[in-house]
């Protein structure tokens, strides 16, 4: 018996840029300055292609537009698309976190979204207490949680730490506990967003096995991933989203092919999907970000050459910042993250003035030529203070700095690591390589 589990009809969601910052007039001003900067940069890079884009159209974004599909009970539907194509918005609408602007959807049965595992964990509470709290937040009854408690703990492998406050957990342990609670939910419909990208390899395998178990148990799953292998293995069908529109609804192989073609066709990231998206608590603001290299124009850097990222920030309260950590993540035109620069525990800033700029020096840009996107995250002691996705549209050009005759095309990988090649006689000692450097 094939029952429809999810049915979406012309589902649309519109966001107004700047709506995010409405609670402070200053913020809207800065946002427009920031988007103005990026817009200008884009025009320089992309010629006058976007100059006919009206101001009004830039102020409103359809994160989803006329998306219609059905999912049968027990089906596992993959959702693929670039960053900003509307995948997460779709899950948010289906899990009722935010309302659609137009259109409608119907979902049969209990829906659980694994948008972010461990949501609602309180650092001061123990693992045990958080299992109950998290279970309740996810809609479990107390009896149900108590009944499954031992299974949850066993799955997480955290028996020894279950009565320790989770603030003492490592981030890996945190995620393991969160996933364990979520994985033991009895939901008819599961919305999964990249949770498999967490934890160590062994735990990832455990999660994959669990996903297999879930998908074979007749539950309906919506699975969002950049991992094409996982889509291929787990899904019976897949849809492709592009700029909020559904462009393909087919068997996984066909959908993946369509997605990869669109990646190649677009080549450069589609300008309309690459608007800077700003989130965070707003305690600190990212006023502007750019990349510069000793030679080129702004946001154009040389493959294999030094470069720096510069970030202008300002604290909302005009007070000095007790603690500030940064992450700059660079992703490729498919939206796949390639590398991050992270201040980590040791290099984060303390007692910074309320405004200034921060420079991140990269000794060698390890990327082959192409279009990339840099995302910036500022963290203070209370969490993410500001995050601007698609903050810097980064162009990497080649001037032979890698010292290689020619770089391989992207299908061989987009990252270049410094390396040397040597020839040695069959039985020689490896130590000779270090001594005879660069033969």
């Amino acid at each position: 018996m094939l029952n429809t589990a999810i049915r979406a009809e012309a589902l649309s969601k519109q966001y107004r840029i700047g709506q995010l910052q409405r609670y402070k007039a200053l913020r809207a001003t800065i946002t427009s300055v920031l988007s103005g900067t990026v817009h200008a940069a884009r025009q320089v890079l992309a010629g006058s292609k976007n100059s006919n884009l009206s101001k009004e159209a830039r102020r409103h974004i359809w994160a989803l537009k006329d998306v219609s599909f059905t999912v049968n009970q027990g089906e596992v539907l993959g959702v693929i698309g670039h960053n900003g194509s509307g995948k997460s918005t779709l899950l948010k609408v289906l899990s009722r976190i935010t309302e659609p602007t137009q259109g409608w959807a119907e979902v049969r049965g209990r829906v659980v979204s694994l948008l972010e595992v461990g949501t609602g964990f309180h650092p001061e509470l123990t693992g045990r207490e958080n299992i109950f709290l998290n279970g309740a937040i996810l809609g479990m009854q107390r009896r149900e949680i108590a009944h499954k408690f031992d299974d949850i703990v066993a799955f997480s492998g955290l028996e020894k730490f279950i009565d320790t406050p989770v603030k003492h957990y490592s981030s890996g342990m945190y995620v393991r506990l969160g996933f364990s609670v979520a994985a033991h939910l009895d939901a008819e419909v599961l919305l999964v967003d990249e949770v498999l990208a967490v934890g160590d390899a062994a735990f990832q395998q455990k999660c994959l096995d669990r996903m297999h178990q879930v998908t074979n148990s007749g539950r309906t799953v919506l699975f969002v991933s950049h991992n094409m292998a996982a889509i291929r293995n787990l899904c019976s069908r897949a849809i492709v989203l592009e700029s909020g529109r559904l462009v393909c609804d087919a068997a996984p192989e066909e959908a993946i092919a369509q997605y990869l073609t669109s990646v190649r066709e677009v080549g450069q990231p589609d300008a309309s999907t690459a608007e800077p998206v700003e989130t965070g608590s707003g305690r600190v603001r990212i006023l502007r970000g750019k990349a510069e290299s000793p030679f080129g124009e702004d946001n154009t850097v040389l493959a294999g050459a030094p470069a720096r990222f510069i970030i202008w920030y300002r604290a909302a309260e005009h007070q000095s910042l007790v603690k500030l950590g940064l992450i700059i993540t660079v992703s490729d035109s498919n939206g796949v993250n390639i590398f991050s620069c992270h201040t980590g525990m040791n290099q984060s800033f303390s007692d910074l003035p309320a405004a200034g700029k921060i420079v991140c020096q990269v000794n060698q840009i390890p990327l082959i030529p192409g279009e990339y996107m840099a995302h910036i995250v500022l963290k203070d002691d209370a969490g993410v203070a500001a995050q601007v996705n698609n903050a810097i549209k980064l162009r990497v050009v080649d001037d032979g700095s890698f010292g290689l005759v020619d770089l391989l095309p992207p299908m061989w990988g987009t990252v270049v690591v410094p390396h040397q090649w040597h020839w040695l006689p069959e039985n020689s000692d490896m130590r000779e390589v270090q001594h005879g450097n660069g033969s």
Binding site: Y23, T98, A105, R108, R110, V111, E116, E188, G280, G383
Partner: protein
């Protein structure tokens, strides 16, 4: 796993009743009581979390719920009882003050915590669906637990002064409910406003301080001239605190026109607060953003 299957079949058995319809909603609406009932355990767990976390990493823990009103009582007794010699409806001033301070502190704390509750729990509301009105509601529930603890101090003080409650005591729960409804109503308004206009967080401390002196906490409402009583009752906390003293200590004139006005204002705040909250909650998530990926 047999339990899992049972739950699933149960849901299937209900057929169409478990279909959730997702579409844009418009206009005013009241509470979805059926849904709230389904989420009652979440209400309990979030209140439990608030209480549990509130006194973690403090040396004396729950004793703070006792010390805060007692310290305020001592200060008020010296300032207003001894120096200013304010009247106290014929009961010892410390007892008079404490009976006003307790509901006042729970009220003012509840509204300020409610106001910031949605912002504090923004990670939660941007990632999981549940009736959002639960968030400000839990802060008031947690406040009531503080209230219960502080109540023991009041009972001890009554024993010391040898003042026994009379039959009026049966009305005490009604005034506690009135206090909770007032705090909830204001909490709904402020939390929904604060998520869009953080100005609320700046205005509130100043507002509650002013409000304290517009409420019969350090003085009896009998000091307010008769012709102003109705106006005075527009402050719903006037009715709450007067009623509180009357039912517990037998002080004051008992419920009258002022109390009626307070009840009316409180009910208006409560219902309008729910309506406003339910109207604004559609854009809460869009207003705070996703708070990081």
């Amino acid at each position: 796993m047999s339990g899992n299957r049972a739950v699933r079949e149960d849901a299937k058995g209900h057929g169409d009743s478990s279909v959730v319809s997702i579409r844009a909603t418009t206009g005013w609406r009241f509470l979805d009581l059926g849904e709230l009932w389904k989420y009652r355990e979440l209400l309990y767990f979030l209140a439990w979390r608030d209480i549990k976390v509130r006194y973690k990493q403090t040396a004396i823990g729950l004793a703070w719920a006792l010390i805060q009103p007692l310290a305020m009582m001592a200060i008020f007794t010296i300032l207003f009882g001894k120096l200013a010699k304010l009247p106290s409806d014929g009961i010892p001033y410390p007892l008079f003050a404490l009976a006003g301070i307790m509901p006042w502190q729970v009220f003012s704390r509840s509204i300020s915590e409610s106001a910031s509750s949605l912002v504090t729990d923004q990670r939660l509301i941007t990632r999981i669906y549940f009736p959002r009105i639960i968030v400000p509601t839990t802060t008031v529930l947690a406040g009531l637990v503080d209230f219960a603890i502080a109540f023991t101090a009041l009972v001890i003080l009554m024993l010391i002064y040898r003042i026994a409650p009379n039959i009026n005591l049966v009305f005490l729960p009604a005034f506690i409910i009135l206090m909770a409804i007032t705090a909830l109503g204001i909490g709904y308004w402020l939390s929904a406003l604060n998520i869009e206009y953080r100005d609320v967080a700046y205005v509130l401390p100043f507002l509650t301080q002013f409000w304290l002196f517009a409420t019969p906490v350090v003085y009896p409402s009998s000091m307010v001239p008769e012709q102003w009583q109705i106006l005075y009752g527009l402050n719903p906390m006037s009715g709450v605190i007067e009623g509180f003293r009357w039912s517990l200590l037998g002080a004051g004139r008992g419920p009258g026109i002022m109390t009626a006005v307070s009840v009316l204002v409180s009910a208006t705040l409560f219902i309008s607060g729910i309506m406003w909250f339910r109207r604004r909650e559609r854009t809460f998530v869009d207003a705070v953003g996703s708070g990081g990926r």
